[in-house]
């Protein structure tokens, strides 16, 4: 009985902490402006939408990973899947939740675009170092 209560509490807390942690990662990158080059590549002209996320993630996988952002991208990827799950289940009944998931999904896409920008810069640095060597 007690173990069951602890399990339910810890899963609820885990979800809350995980969502807040992912939102803190996303919020930190939302202030960063995208370069025109990345906007061209990703097709994000004005603001990102949730539909852009898969495409930007495919582009991200083409770039060499920097050790710094690997776990962050994985965490936000898991958050995006969680949002998709909420969108296809609970959000069908609650319209307010649907609007919230759409906003969150678009922010995830923007986060991925910022990560892409960083990886491009990282690749350029690596190339420059190799050229110098």
């Amino acid at each position: 009985m007690i173990a069951g209560i602890i399990l339910v509490c810890s899963i609820v807390f885990l979800l809350q902490f995980f969502v807040s942690y992912c939102r803190s990662l996303i919020a930190a990158s939302s202030k960063q402006a995208l370069s025109p080059e990345v906007r061209d590549v990703t097709g994000i002209a004005q603001s990102a939408t949730g539909e852009d996320f898969a495409r930007v993630m495919q582009l991200l996988r083409l770039c060499p990973e920097s050790p710094e952002d690997r776990s962050r991208v994985q965490a936000v990827g898991a958050y995006f899947r969680l949002l998709n799950f909420v969108r296809s289940t609970l959000a069908r009944i609650m319209p307010a939740l649907r609007a919230w998931t759409e906003t969150e999904r678009s922010q995830c896409a923007y986060f991925a675009a910022v990560a892409l920008e960083r990886r491009i810069a990282f690749s350029r640095d690596m190339l420059a170092q190799q050229m110098d060597a």
Binding site: S10, I11, F13, Q16, S20, A28, R72, W100
Partner: protein, 213 residues
């Protein structure tokens, strides 16, 4: 994580976190030595593993209280926090002892396992209270927010896995393979928080609440 914090000049400011990480390193080395000399199935290894686990859990508990001191530093509540945390620790130990006393012989070994599990759950509740305080007080320090949230993820994963183990003992082998993954969460997320965010980085905390404010 300790290297990141040293490079960013935050070693002293977050002394408890760094000491905990250093203790983790020493304990891991110690466990490896005992494992290497006595073997996995030996009583020495089992003793060392469980005693060091309690030591690390208590260490993490005090690390959490140091985060409380950071959040409430303007209120100068450090003494009250220290007193309260020791009282809660003693209470948890007494509660664990009472449970172990009811369940037969070999008290010492089971007492340490029980204390460790209960402290993890107390840690989870305290982290949740701290997170609520951060939202209420509109704490904006990005690094501190990230440190608290990753601690919350770690505690909830541990508490969930302990509860699952008690509910479904058959899952023990599956859960055992998850512990190394759980163990990586704190060093990775804390190292990232120290490396990526300077002490003066700020964030609007209302953006992080699951329920929009």
């Amino acid at each position: 994580m300790v290297v990141c914090s040293l490079l960013r000049g935050s070693f002293q400011r977050y002394l408890a976190l760094n000491c905990y990480m250093l203790a983790c390193i020493f304990v891991s080395v110690g466990r490896f030595r005992v494992l290497f000399t006595h073997g996995f199935g030996s009583q020495e290894y089992a003793f060392f593993y469980y005693y060091s686990d309690v030591f690390l859990t208590i260490g993490l508990y005090f690390t959490l209280t140091s985060l409380y001191a950071h959040v409430f530093e303007e209120m100068a509540a450090e003494k009250s926090i220290r007193f309260g945390s020791i009282l809660l620790l003693l209470g948890t130990a007494l509660f664990s002892f009472a449970i172990v006393m009811q369940s037969g012989p070999r008290i010492a070994g089971r007492f340490f396992v029980e204390v460790s599990q209960n402290l993890n759950f107390v840690g989870l509740i305290l982290t949740y209270v701290l997170w609520a305080a951060i939202l209420k007080l509109r704490e904006t320090r990005t690094r501190l927010i990230q440190l608290v949230l990753s601690l919350g993820i770690f505690f909830s994963l541990l508490a969930a896995s302990f509860a699952l183990r008690n509910l479904y003992p058959a899952l023990h082998s599956v859960l055992q393979s998850l512990y190394p993954v759980t163990g990586c969460i704190l060093p990775m997320t804390w190292a990232y928080a120290f490396w990526r965010f300077p002490e003066d980085a700020r964030l609007v905390p209302s953006r992080l609440a699951v329920v929009p404010r």
